[in-house]
Structures are given as C-alpha cells and as structure tokens.
Symmetry: C2
Subunit: 461 residues, 2 copies
C-alpha cells in the first residue's frame, strides 16, 4: 500500500501546532476587534475573470486553476470541453483558488455598493500560491488582513499602522521596526533628483536594496539609463536619518514646489503627530526613505514591519491603495490596509521561544475506578462540563488508576479527579495535581476548586 | 465594466453574517473542548490519489479538480501536459479540493502512526462539492467534525452522541431527536427477516423511507427480489416503538442467536445505560430501527439528528467506522465520530429566531470634538483598548457631534464617549448610552464604567 501523503507545500496542523496557531490568531483577532474592525470571509474560489489582470503575469502563473466541472479526459483529448471545442484557457478553467485577501476585499466593495462607509473589516483565511516551496514559504498559508475603505482621512492610515504596532508589541516581539514611507514623497524625491521620467524603473531598482545592496542598485540604475548625478542624489537622500518630524522638515526644501511630494510630507506629518498623541514609541516606526514596496497599486503611505533577529523578511506590510477598488467597480474608493503574515509570525515566535508553555485546554481527567463506578464518573464529568470546565473522561474502561494518571500526564492534563468507593459514599471527589498534592471535597464544590487550582497553575489565562 | 461576481454556490460572509456564524462556531467549539477534544486542521487540497476510491463514483464527480501547474492551453490542444503526452486524467489533474473531513482525518491517522491513542480531535473547516446549488445546499460549506480514534470502547460512541445532544441543547433548539441504531443490529434484523443475502440492497431501499414512504420502499424491495414475507417482517420490526432499554429486550428473541445482532444489542444497552447515567433526556434519543445511514463504511452504532420544524433534513450524523482508516494504512484503527452541518444549523436557527439580538463587538465610539481635541480622543481611545475594550475612533475628522452619534447608532455601537473642552480641562469624559442617559466621570474610571454599562446592556455576554 502506497503511503498516504499531502500536496507539496501544504501542512497538517496537529493539536499541538493548532494550539500555537490559535493563540496567535486569537491575539491578532482580538486586536483587530479592539480597534472596531469586524470579521469577513470570502469564498476560497474566485472566478478566473475576477483574478485575471490583477496580479501581474507572475502572479497569474502561481494560481491553482480549477478545471470546469464535467470535463473528461476524452473531452480534453478531443480538444473540447463539455462537448464544445475549446479555444482559450477560459473555456477549460473557470475558477482558481484565491491568491490574496486584497483582491476579494476589493471585489466585495465593488459588489455591495450599499456597505456603510468607512467599511472596516478584518479577514483571516488561507491563500494559495503554487510557488516553489521552501523554508517559510508554503503553497497554502494564512494571511491576516485588516483594511478600511471609504475614507481618505490620514487617521485611517494611522490606525492601520497602530494596529500592526500593537499586534507586534502584544505578541511579545522584543524588537521590531515598522519602516514607513509615502509613495507621493518618493515621487517628489525622484523628481528632485532629476529622475521623474524613470520613476517606475527607479522604484523597481530601489526595492532590491535589501537583496543586492547599494552597489547592486547603483549598477541597475545606471544600466537603466539613470544618470550618475540622479543616483547620487537619491542615495544621499535615502540615507537621511533623523527623528521623523525633524526629517520631514529637512525634506521640505529638497522637495521644493513638487505638489505631490509636499502632500506626502503633509500626510506623514499628520500621521506621526497622531502616532505621538497615542504614545507610540517612534523609535520602532522610523521614516525610511528607501522603502518602496513592490506592488504597483499603492498611492499614499506605505509601511513594512521587520525584525532583525531572526532575519526572515517582513512580517507585515501594507499601505494606501486608492485606485484598486475602482478596477472592479469603475468608481474609485479610497482604502488602506495591512497584511500580517501568520506563518512568518509563528516561525519567528517559535525561534524566539515566545510560544512555549501555552496552557492545555483540557483541565481535568475524570478517572474511572471500576465498571461499577462508571456511572458516577460519567455523571461527574458531565456536571463539570455543565459548569464550563473542560473535562475528559478516561474511556478505556476501568484500568489501573496509575495507568490513568500516566494518561493524564502524557497529555499534560493537570488535574485528576478520582471517584472511588469512599469518595462516592460521601458524595465526595478527590482532586490531584501531583503525587502528593491532593484534596478531597464535596463534588458540588469541585468546579470552584478546579477553577482555583487552574488559576494557580496558569495565572495568565 | 462587467459586474464582479462570485462562483455559483459560494457566498461572501459580511460582518453581520459572520457575527452569527462565529457565535455558532464558538458554541460548538467550546462544547468539543469541554469534552477534551483538540483542534486539528488539514490542507484544503488533497492529492487526487488520496481521494480516489474513497467517495464512490458520485462523490468523485463532485470534486473540484485542480489542473497540474504549468499546463497551458497549447499543451492541452496538443494532448499533452508539461510537454508529456497525457494518457489518463491523473496526468492532467493531481489535486482536488477536499470533499469532507473524514477522509483527511483518516489519512492523518494513517500518516502519523505515533499519535497518542485514543486520539480525540475536532475540525471545523470548509469542504467543497460541485453539487447543483439550491436552497440550503452550497458548493463551499463548513463542516464541524468531532472524532475519536483508537478505542473500541462504547464509551467513545456515548461521548460522541452526548456531544451532539449537548450542542443541539446549548444552541437552543426547542425540539430535536437523535435517532440511534446499530449496523450490527440491522444485520441481525435483516437476517431474522430472511433477507441476509440482500443486506446491501435492503439498506439502500430503507434509506429512502423519508423520501418515498413505506409503499415506495416496499415496491423497491420487491423489485430487488426480496420476498413479501421478508418485507413484512422488516416493516413490522422497524415500526417497533418503545423505551430504548425495553425495546432492546423485545428485540433479543427476534435476533435469536445471530452473533452480530446480539453484539449490536449489547452495545446499545451499554450506550443507553451510559446516556442515562449522564441524565440525558432519552425522549430526544430514540432507538429507531429504520435508521440506516447512506455511507458504506459504518460498522457499529449510527445516528442522525433531526428537527421536525422546519423540515430540512438532518443537522448532524455519524457513527462508528472501524475499517476506514485501514484503507489508508493497512492497519484497521477503530474510530467513531460525528459531523455537524454548520450551514443547516445556521439556517434552522435563523428560521427559529435563535440568532436575533446578538450583541455587537464594538463597545464604544470615541468622538472627535474638533481638530484641536483630536490628540485627546486618539489617546483616550488607545487607553481604552489597552484595557481590553473595543473602541472605535470616529475617523472623518471633526464632524458635528450629532453626525457622530448617528454614525454610532447606525452601527449599533451602544456607548458614545465625548471629550469636549470642559471634559478635557478636568481630565473627564462624557459617556452616553441614549439621548438622556449620560454620565461625566474621570477618564481613568471610564474602562470600569464601560464594563458596567455593557453588562447592563448585554447581561449574557
């Protein structure tokens, strides 16, 4: 018999992994909700026509494409589908698994025009990309997106950045940076440097700074026909470091009367002032003029969150995209959002030891003394559950009590309930939390006692 | 521009629907966990070879099949894939979306031999079937599965039935029945009726009782070559109604010395005794000898949960399947489980009005008095969130306060926080829950006051 296996780049999450994943997901979810964002879900499958033309050629190649239902191998051999000759790919493939959560969000906004604005939603669901699998890169992986649509207010950008900051703080990352920049400011800087005609090329080159270094980028700029003077200007300005508000003032004369550039500076000033009002630590949120972000569709503030240890790339990224929704509806709707990459967050947290010692879910193992006493154990376990306590009944029939205790230890169930003849005769139960730690008390008092023991064992839950 | 749309049989879940869905999912999850079951997830895509031969021909036709990556329309036209001539369907399609959660669970048990036994897991994830969409039937829908593998104990069957019972009770269904039967008992009854040679045919016919009635089933039995005497016997026994333990005793002489049949009766007796020990209302859990369950793989107790109002078919079903995991591993592993169909549960709960009046998530709208006072509102909102309160900041800049109050009302945010010049001068805040209900208090006392107000508005959350 051939050994069963799963598709390359996908994973099964067994209970132990799920405990870590749910811990992180619930933290992130809780933060989204504290900022007034509400959950939304979309289908895993989208129409081919919805995805087409939104992801670039490379993105489209990474889609998992679904064959039209009813297509047989004979059809395909004869060059037809459902008895119709196929001409194009669309005749054979009508659906694909979603590639990200931004396109579905934009589609939803285009489809349901009556949604209240601003519309604030979060979405935590898997996406699929047929990328070459490698460490930290999967073909099915979760994204946690938080977006707000329908407002141009810079407070919306502030809020999204604050959410990412809060998430990284509360997940316990000891050191992180949210690099912040603005597409319009970039525009102004490139103009001032004399490279306005090559804006897109320049962005593509600078985006590789982390990978190929300054020399590599400089070479690529020159190769693309950008003058040495322009390159020199860009590098000297991109390297400017200062406190954000001071840096903004230093940039004003450089940008001069470039309207977009000054608008970008104005946005950034309001954004940083709002961050300061919220007492956020600005050392974690530097204004970084070398940040570009790969995607074409950003139109305003952009950001990317990184940790230096371990080196793993960005944990979160996002920005303002005021023109994307219009691609679906014909009407531009301003929007800003962030994606938090669940898998990388978990990988880093595991490496930093932030996911050790998560408490178990099951609080009590109710043992079975003998077949005669089974009804008592059944009833007692059920009474605990009615009080909201997670109680497992030992199912293997009446094994030796030591075996049952070992069963609980193997599963990290911290409290063991014993109902033997003496206990039952007096409507009592014995609760054990260790070889010498045990207490006998009336069954009716057990739920409260279990809560107290639990609180002592896991004070932070 | 063509209007964007989603694939037939799929749905977007906007925040209002999500609130209902999450309420139900969290209830079910909480119940699974109270019985000591742990979460597990598997990939949405499974290898074609894993699904093949497990679902029957009809099931396989309903799979969403994924084209091998890199296949182009030219390849297909030329009868090849990735430059290799294709011979069979497998050459073109290597993956499919999962059809249910039982096959993945069985695959996991076969793949990870070291899993502790009994292995108790729950799994709440979508499945996909390219069925003809209709009311209550979707192409992407959620299942909530709870299973236990690695034990033959009838206590495991008891536990699964108890979980379904508890779920339906706690979700608030005023009337439901969990029909219970046993495959081995059915076997014994069919033998006693003289139909042993036609067991499978008889099961297929009886399974249609709800749809085509007794006359229809009788006709089908006779058409399949079953004698009138056998049919008469079966109908008279299937119609037997009594309290379960009494009915079991009445069946003993009918079953006679049929070993399987008697083993089934023995199981049912233990099962009902355990249900009684847990004080479950047996009127909700009738022994129903006409229950067959469509799937082939059941080997022991089987059950199905129904409500009579509204008529919608079964909300949950399951049973023991001791031979399925062996299909993947070669080693039989006993297992029993249930599927709770999330979509039908939600449909019925909506019809019964059980999902009205769910509380909102966002507790407070923090208004902005004027641009000058924005920093105060920003800081105050952030301080509420730090205390775990869900607080939305009004983002549209300093609109008229009445507009901001209307914004909160439109979104059902029950508490409004106002920080005007008077409040700020004294480090106070005004909290409003209605046109005449307002209180001014120190900002530091606001979190506690909000919790108190919330408790009063939504006592059960």
């Amino acid at each position: 018999m051939k050994k069963a296996s799963i598709p390359s780049g996908t994973r099964d999450f067994l209970p132990e992994q799920m405990r870590q994943r749910l811990y992180v997901i619930n933290k992130i979810k809780g933060i989204f909700e504290r900022f007034g964002y509400e959950p939304m879900e979309t289908p895993s499958i989208e129409k081919w026509e919805v995805l087409q033309g939104k992801l670039g050629e490379e993105g489209e190649q990474l889609l998992f494409k679904i064959l039209r239902r009813g297509t047989t191998v004979e059809d395909l051999r004869l060059g037809r589908t459902q008895s119709v000759t196929f001409e194009a790919f669309d005749d054979l493939v009508d659906l694909a698994l979603r590639y990200d959560l931004t396109v579905p969000f934009s589609r939803v906004l285009a489809m349901y025009g009556q949604l209240p604005k601003p519309f604030k939603r979060y979405q935590i669901q898997p996406v699929w990309r047929a990328d070459r699998p490698q460490k930290g890169r999967y073909r099915e992986f979760y994204q946690c997106d938080v977006d707000i649509a329908g407002t141009e207010s810079i407070l919306a950008d502030t809020e999204i950045v604050t959410i990412v900051y809060t998430a990284l703080k509360e997940l316990g990352f000891p050191a992180f940076r949210i690099r912040l920049n603005h597409r319009k400011l970039l525009n102004g800087l490139v103009s001032a440097a004399g490279g306005a005609a090559h804006f897109k090329d320049i962005c593509i080159a600078i985006d590789k700074l982390d990978k190929i270094g300054e020399d590599g980028v400089r070479k690529e700029l020159l190769d693309r026909g950008i003058t040495e003077e322009t390159a020199n200007n860009l590098f000297s300005w991109m390297g400017l470091k200062d406190e954000p508000l001071a840096l903004i003032e230093r940039l004003r004369p450089i940008i001069g009367d470039h309207a977009d550039g000054q608008a970008g500076l104005q946005d950034l000033q309001s954004l940083y002032n709002a961050l300061i009002a919220q007492d956020l630590d600005l050392r974690c949120i530097p204004l970084d003029l070398s940040l570009v972000r790969g995607l074409d569709y950003y139109t305003g503030p952009i950001f990317e969150a990184v940790v230096d240890e371990p080196a793993i790339g960005s944990l979160s990224g996002g920005g303002r995209y005021d023109k994307l929704i219009g691609k679906f509806s014909g009407n531009d709707t301003p929007a800003v959002g962030a994606t938090i990459g669940l898998e990388r967050i978990i990988d880093v947290m595991q490496e930093l030891g932030l996911l050790n010692a998560l408490p178990p879910k099951t609080q009590v193992l109710v043992t079975v003394f003998s077949d005669d006493f089974l009804p008592h154990s059944l009833r007692f376990a059920q009474s605990l559950r009615a009080q909201g306590i997670c109680a497992e009944l030992h199912l293997k029939g009446a094994s030796k009590i030591n075996k049952q205790i070992k069963y609980a230890n193997d599963r990290a169930i911290p409290i063991i309930a014993i109902l033997g003849p003496e206990e039952v005769a007096q409507n009592n139960v014995q609760l054990r939390t260790g070889p010498t730690e045990q207490i006998t008390l009336p069954q009716t008092e057990a739920p409260q006692q279990i809560r107290t023991l639990w609180q002592r064992l896991f004070p932070n839950t």
